[in-house]
Amino acid sequence: MNAVFYILAALTLAGGLATVLLKQLVHCALAVTVAFAGLALLFLQLDAQFAGFAQILVYIGAVAILIVFAILLTRGSELPKDGVFSKTWFLGLVIAAAVFAVLGWAVLASVSAVPQQNAVPSVTVRDIGIALVGRYVLPLEIVALLLTAATIGAVIVAMHEKERPR
């Protein structure tokens, strides 16, 4: 626990909050990249270098772009005329607060029971690679299947049925 952690946590949470609260959708998308970046930095702080950089590559490099595309594709740049929050916003807020309360309680109550290891684990990318095609080969293939399915599904869903004959 040190200053860096607090800064990063604050950055992440601020990014998250800004995402939820900002009006302009593109601003939200940019704010969420800040949250992603903060998370990536937290990963780095947790000595998960590979995961941190992968987070930046995938989330900031690809998911954020995708979100931005989606916003532009749905005319999201314009500010909505009748408010950005749904009518049941209060209920949502209550649920979120409740969930946080439960989670926080669970964390505080249980975490001290978990044995903790404070030495820095020495994990190289090579270890990850070996694990990937070794122990985790089945999840790997499943992820491949999932990704392929997701490609096909997302493309089919998003593809515009071309009306003009080609």
Binding site: H160, K162, E163, R164
Partner: protein, 390 residues
């Protein structure tokens, strides 16, 4: 070639641009390209509606350089219009001069001495070479080649302009031809210099071709883009390299037998696809033919006077009547239509600008293409705004 007579096409509205329906996804983006736009060769504007990047509507807007050439000419003497013709197609002042002189000569029935005819041919073909080189340079510039082909074209153009300047006194606005001949005679040293420049031209065209013709990017961007069907080209009055790029064998030099073009051996290159690449290649090949013509003219140049002895500068009053004279200018058929009422000024003075009329089918060629192609198609028409808007 003979035009394919397709009767089905002669149905009502066959010569109108096709209507392109947007595919319903996304909205149309209406962009004005021009009047200040890097690729419009000056002050031209195209109001483009884009469906994605596909052009579904294109309306050219003219007149940003409408300088009232015709109105001024109707208030000025016949001679005073000559320097104004320089400023029509400011790349090719000499061919403009010639077209105007030809129209006036037709009107009054003047005969041009043989030597002057040869000089006119030499100058017109030099003009054609430099115009085609620069227009290709501009076309490739639009394709984004950082100006290198344009630089090479202008390097050669400067040599030709040097010739023009040492003969006529001005680089661009030559104001050289007169009704019934030319203003000053060529000197032996000028002819030598011309021979030298002309001798260097084939190497220049070779270099140009090596740089561009087989470039994959250029081929990919130019082939199959901006196709103009020959029937439509004729119906729309398209002329010059554009018409020949569509495969129509029509060259005013061969058809009208004006000047002394009958005496020279040259061929008319024709394209088969009518796309940008064909227009580009037709220009390259025409440059080669022009070089041949100049060489022949330089070889055969006779001695003699350069002005019709009956010609007069001041107080020039043609008999009432009218005449339409046209030549094959580098950009196409350039015509002048004059009506004389017997006065000092033409009663009606009309320029038939190839650039404007070649733009008639701009929309037809652009529809359905990418917005980046519009720029190229426009460049391949080879226009000069001075002539389009006059």
């Amino acid at each position: 070639m003979t035009v394919v007579e397709n009767k089905a096409e002669r149905a009502e509205g066959w010569n109108r641009p096709q209507v392109i329906e947007p595919d319903g996804e996304g909205e149309l983006l209406e962009v004005a390209m021009g009047p200040h736009h890097p690729s419009t060769h000056g002050v031209f504007r195209m109001d483009v509606a884009l469906d994605g990047e596909r052009v579904v509507r294109l309306k050219p807007v003219f007149g940003y350089l409408h300088r009232n050439h015709e109105k001024i000419a109707e208030g000025a003497s016949y001679l005073a219009s000559m320097p104004y013709t320089d400023r029509l197609d400011y790349f090719c002042s000499l061919t403009n001069n010639w077209a105007y002189a030809l129209a006036v000569e037709k009107l009054v029935g003047q005969v041009v001495p043989e030597r002057a005819e040869y000089i006119r041919v030499i100058l017109a073909e030099l003009t054609r070479v430099q115009n085609h080189a620069s227009s290709i340079g501009f076309l490739i510039q639009e394709m984004g080649a950082s100006g290198t082909p344009l630089m090479y074209a202008f390097k050669e153009r400067e040599k030709i302009l040097d010739l023009f300047e040492s003969l006529t006194g001005s680089r661009m606005m030559c104001n050289y031809m007169r009704f019934g001949g030319c203003r000053v005679d060529v000197s032996a040293s000028w002819l030598d210099a011309t021979r030298k420049v002309v001798a260097g031209l084939p190497a220049f065209v070779d270099e140009f071709e090596a740089l561009l013709s087989s470039n994959e990017i250029l081929m990919a961007r130019c082939q199959g883009v901006g196709i103009l069907r020959p029937e439509l080209a004729i119906n729309a009055g398209v002329s010059g390299p554009m018409l020949r790029g569509s495969g129509v064998n029509y060259d005013v030099r061969k058809v009208d037998h004006y000047g002394i073009y009958d005496r020279f051996k040259f061929r008319i290159p024709l394209g088969d696809h009518g796309d940008i690449y064909d227009r580009y290649m037709v220009r390259i090949l025409e440059m080669r033919e022009s070089i041949k013509i100049i060489e022949q003219a330089l070889r055969d140049l006779p001695a003699g006077p350069i002005m019709d002895t009956r010609a007069k500068l001041r107080g020039f009053r043609p008999k009432p009547g009218e005449a339409y004279g046209r030549i094959e200018a580098p950009k196409g058929e350039l015509g002048f239509y004059l009506i004389s009422d017997g006065g000092l000024n033409p009663y009606r003075y009309r320029v038939r600008p190839p650039s404007l009329i070649n733009l008639t089918i701009l929309e037809d060629m652009c529809l359905g293409h990418n917005v980046a192609d519009v720029v190229l198609i426009f460049g391949s028409v080879d226009i000069v705004l001075g002539e389009v808007d006059r």
